[in-house]
Symmetry: C2
Subunit: 308 residues, 2 copies
């Protein structure tokens, strides 16, 4: 049963030790937990090392769909966080393994039309999933009268496409949206790497993956299966990949309606909110709060205070 009150860990070494002992796996949201924008929070590297040294598995869980796991490992390194590829779980990867291992498109209908960047393509390729669209330079252009005709009559479409995967696409345009729509109108499965409406950068908000898929939702009246937090399709993918015991897994995050919801709806043994990002204590103490973290701390590095 989800918590209705939240246990405060900061400065309480006995509570921290008990918290750490309860879990084998920690799933980390990144922005707002480990860093903000380009600024790594103090003590993060040491805290992650501390958890690893106690035999805990750490997993970085991100909705950023533009990056493959390799790309994301480089980003972590550039911020000063050493990591293994196997510790990274991004929505592009989540989408690729959902398609290859769960969706299992039938032969002759197994190609994916991608709205997105190279991170998605890398992960699909690694899983052996055939795809088109994506970064194809032939689609980075204006729509023509021939396109209108050939999309409408289907002659510009690949009959083997059985799925449209929409992620964050910095090169989204009318031609790509029209093509994706035509595949959906012909019955293709509709997936989204994630549905975040905005893409936060160091200095401001830009259109997110959810703003790439929403015209298609609007046109078709269909909702995509989303593979990022808080979708449980992502949790299923994580469980399938790591064979984790949900009861001994804790989700750590800074947002109630993505991270904490993700952990609670996934039936994890615990959730930890940190106050270095979006949510504040008053958010889950509000009367209409839907998602209350089991634990909270001022900052992630407070866990290190328990080091013996």
């Amino acid at each position: 049963m989800p918590a209705t009150t939240s246990k405060y860990l900061t400065g309480d070494n006995a509570a921290i030790n008990d918290f750490i002992d309860r879990f084998d796996v920690f799933l980390f949201d990144c922005d707002g937990v480990l860093w903000s924008g380009d600024h790594l929070f103090e003590g993060i590297v040491e805290t992650l090392d501390f958890l690893r040294s106690k035999g805990k598995k750490v997993v970085f869980v991100t909705n950023n769909s533009t990056k493959s796991r390799q790309d994301y490992q480089k980003k972590l390194a550039s911020l000063g966080i050493p990591s293994e590829i196997e510790e990274i779980f991004a929505s592009a990867y989540s989408s690729a393994i959902y398609i290859s291992r769960i969706l299992k498109l039938p032969a002759g209908k197994n190609k994916v039309f991608v709205l997105g960047e190279s991170g998605i393509e890398s992960e699909l390729a690694a899983e052996g999933v055939p795809f088109l669209g994506g970064t194809d330079p032939n689609l980075r252009r204006d729509i023509t009268q021939d396109d209108f005709n050939q999309l409408a009559d289907g002659s510009a479409l690949d009959p083997e496409v059985g799925c449209v995967l929409a992620g964050l696409d910095f090169h989204v345009n009318y031609l790509k949206l029209s093509t994706a729509y035509q595949y959906l109108a012909r019955g293709a499965e509709f997936l989204a790497t994630n549905t975040d409406s905005t893409f936060p950068t160091a200095h401001g908000f830009f259109p997110g993956a959810g703003s790439v898929s929403v015209p298609l939702i609007n046109m078709t009246g269909q909702q995509p299966t989303a593979l990022g937090k808080p979708s449980q399709a992502m949790m299923d993918s994580i469980e399938g990949k790591f064979q984790l015991d949900r009861a001994r897994t804790c989700m750590v995050g800074d947002r109630l309606n993505t991270d904490i919801q993700f952990g609670i709806e996934g039936g994890l043994g615990g959730t930890l909110a940190v106050l270095t990002g979006v949510c504040k204590k008053k958010d889950w103490e509000a009367e209409d709060a839907k998602f209350v973290p089991a634990y909270y701390a001022d900052k992630l590095s407070d866990l290190r205070a328990a080091k013996p």
Copy 2:
């Protein structure tokens, strides 16, 4: 009070004569009423001439925002329908006069950032409304890191923009959506020429103006003021332009949830549904039907049968 049953006109000359006598102005939806795709329905030109010969005012009301009234007059001519500019009311024109005559943006904050094509630009220019964006070739390109920085810090933005107008833009891209979002986030008024999710062509559906604005709705949580049918802002513009008597005006269309809704909510004296387009009799006879036309006919040219 709106009708709960609908009077059938086809073949009933007395009813047709009574119908025609009740109105001075007929507002016509076009696609599905006058033509379908590129195919003009039989007897349309004669029916329009017949109405004009009886002293009726005819107005062509279209949500197509890519065309100025001049452009639309050419389209009508290409289909064989003679018309005057003053008989045409398109959502680009509706938007321009809403901005210039109703919104009245204050000096220093009176520029419009446009997502759309040249039809919108022509109508804004004709009303003396300063604008940017639109067909500007400088925005038809990929977003760069400089754009990210300068949009977020505002240095790439024109401080005089007080309004974002989103219409159908065949050249929509990430840079334009990001720019429009930044203006909205800074308090610009949010207008949409219309919110049709799809753009019907002769052979199929493509993204409509509503699919250009929906990412911005998704990002900001704001709904735009829409200037196309069924928005009453368009009816107010039509009334302001033609000084019509709503009680002696009839809306003619083929869609219940745009055309007929538009006429009923506008308090017009009547609505006429024709069965040459989207809606069928069973649609308004359904128990949950919201908008019942006061009259219906198999086709518009049935009105000519009453010619004495």
